[in-house]
């Protein structure tokens, strides 16, 4: 996305406007809330009081980042129609939520959970399991945050034609994000997500319309062209691609649903009704988000044939340039759209950062370093450590990795290993902490090793999924051999659905 000819000063104006709007929203969401900074659930979970609109948009804007556009369109360009899988793997996440969110919501509200670790700790009462899952989740979040930081810089410097250099772009937007997050916590994050989500939604639709206009308005023509020039991209996928598709459904479905920031949105819901309604709407979002981005990538094959891997990563920028040249209307819409991409990246980054800080303050500091600290102090520690983490990640981000998708898979490999403990633990009383610990550790090591040694997939199956298989096997086998003996009546009560009603 380098050297966009269409923007410069105009891009800077739109970006500044977006930044100011975000700051204003952050300021107002924190104002008058005296308890916000004195309570963990107030700051990190918006007082467990997010209504439908805020909850839906924060789920949406967090799940779909700027990368969904900037990274997925090139993937569609390179792989062709089999990238239609991006609709299904984003949809299946809701199916996985249905496995655990209904019960988790009730328990979390009853027991005042702030982070996903609170549940793991409550369920297994094992320091080893708690520490290992904190490590895996922080690793996943850190990587995810890093990816967003890299993307912010690329998007902004691309949009302003290099007028704002990469480093300055990152620093300015990270500062804006830190400022509104500091002022309003989750409430600010969710309210800015409303604005960021709307811009992203409209942007994608206009971008597709512009792309269709450039190719003469007929998508069938595009497909015919692709079939003629690169028949592999429209052909029925070979078996290995299908296996990979299924593996992707598992990896993304299981991984994305237990992202700490995703779990915290379950905790933040005002009521079960609000949560249900938000998920029900979210289930319809993949076709109009990743589905449309997929079409953009396919149109790109006709507009810019023959790009190599590095070249195709610039696809969205290249297309935006062409679309902006159509007429002044499209010109301005494209600038707003690019601002929207930046906003979408920020909206994901802010949620990840908030979740990262909450785990540092509630889990690391609050459980292991200073359990007696006041909530106000824990919140402060989280805020400050979050800033330190950002500075550290920025330092890494100055050398951005090649393509976005590679790191996207990497973060799931480890994070997904928390899944058995998290979900199996909700329903299976015999599941023991020891089995969970060894399963998680073995799964993470196997997944990490496979990835590091270049076996990212075997016969199309992701290393993370193979590790997860081993993990499940150890969890279930170990618990059958030496079942957990639960003495906790509290836990017993939580795990019996009939008692779920408070």
């Amino acid at each position: 996305m380098n050297d966009l000819a269409f923007a410069g000063t105009d891009g800077i104006i739109i970006l500044s406007a977006f930044a100011i709007i975000m700051l204003v929203i952050g300021y107002f969401s924190g104002r008058g809330e005296k308890n916000l900074h004195h309570s963990l659930s107030g700051y990190y979970l918006a007082g467990r009081n997010l209504g439908f609109i805020a909850l839906f948009f924060t789920l949406y804007a967090t799940q779909y980042s700027g990368n969904t556009i900037v990274g997925y369109a090139p993937t569609a360009y390179r792989t062709g129609f089999s990238w239609i899988q991006s609709i299904s793997f984003m949809t299946i996440i809701i199916g996985i939520y249905l496995l655990f969110a209904p019960r988790l919501y009730v328990i979390a509200k009853k027991r005042n959970f702030v982070t996903p670790t609170d549940w793991i700790d409550h369920r297994f009462k094992s320091k080893a399991v708690t520490l290992l899952s904190i490590f895996l989740m922080l690793w996943g979040l850190g990587n995810y945050l890093l990816e967003q930081l890299v993307a912010i810089g690329q998007a902004v410097s691309g949009m302003t034609g290099g007028t704002i250099p990469y480093q300055i772009a990152v620093i300015v937007f990270v500062a804006v994000m830190l400022a509104y997050e500091w002022m309003g916590g989750m409430k600010a994050v969710a309210f800015t997500d409303v604005m960021q989500g709307i811009v992203l939604m409209i942007g994608i639709i206009v971008f597709l319309i512009g792309g269709l206009y450039l190719v003469g308005g007929n998508f069938s023509e595009v497909t015919r062209y692709v079939a003629q020039m690169e028949p592999a991209k429209t052909a029925v996928p070979p078996m290995e691609v299908n296996i990979n598709w299924l593996s992707m459904l598992l990896l993304v479905g299981l991984g994305a649903s237990i992202y700490p920031h995703a779990v915290q949105r379950i905790y933040s819901a005002q009521s079960e009704k609000t949560l249900k309604k938000s998920f029900a709407r979210m289930a319809w979002m993949p076709p109009i988000t990743t589905g449309l981005v997929f079409m953009v990538g396919i149109i790109g094959i006709m507009l810019f044939p023959g790009l190599d891997k590095t070249g195709s990563e610039q696809l969205v920028g290249l297309m935006a340039n062409e679309i902006a040249a159509i007429n002044p209307f499209y010109y301005w819409i494209m600038i707003i759209f690019f601002g929207g991409i930046v906003a979408a990246i920020i909206s994901t980054a802010d949620s990840v950062l908030l979740s990262f800080s909450s785990m540092l303050s509630n889990d690391v500091y609050g459980k292991f370093i200073n359990p007696k600290a006041t909530e106000h102090k824990k919140v402060m520690v989280g805020k400050v450590c979050g800033i330190i983490a950002i500075i550290f990640l920025l330092w890494i981000a100055w050398n951005p990795p090649g393509t976005l998708y590679e790191i996207f898979v990497l973060k799931f490999e480890l994070l997904v290993q928390v899944f058995p403990a998290f979900v199996l633990g909700l329903y299976w009383k015999r599941l023991s902490g020891k089995a969970v610990f060894w399963g998680m550790l073995a799964g993470a090591i196997l997944a990490g090793l496979l990835t590091l040694t270049g076996y990212k997939t075997i016969y199309g199956i992701h290393g993370g999924v193979i590790g997860l298989g081993l993990n499940f096997f150890i969890c279930i086998g170990g618990s059958l051999l030496a079942p957990a003996v639960s003495k906790s009546t509290v836990l017993e009560e939580d795990m019996t659905a009939i008692n779920l009603k408070a």
Partner: protein, 86 residues
């Protein structure tokens, strides 16, 4: 609070069987090579059917959220109604 009002998706097997069937429809493993044509709305036949299954999945999951999930809603809404009155 009688028990029969509680609906929890994990406890109904059919929910997961239907989801598995839809998923098997989404992944295009069952097409012969000839299914690249004809084009429907610009999509190769296999991609069109796979997308149709994806959209069925969206509808199904959305429907499940609203209709097969009810644990504390009645209680919460009753409490809220009381608070609103007070």
């Amino acid at each position: 609070m009688e028990n029969r009002t509680i609906k929890e998706p994990i406890r109904k097997k059919w929910i997961w069987i239907v989801l598995a069937i839809i998923t098997l429809g989404v992944v295009p493993w069952y097409f012969p090579d000839a299914a690249a044509e004809p084009y429907i709305l610009g999509f190769p036949l296999w991609a069109f059917i796979s997308t149709a299954f994806s959209i069925i999945m969206c509808g199904y999951l959305s429907w499940l959220c609203v209709n097969e999930w009810n644990i504390v809603e009645d209680q919460e809404e009753a409490e809220r109604a009381k608070e609103d009155k007070a």
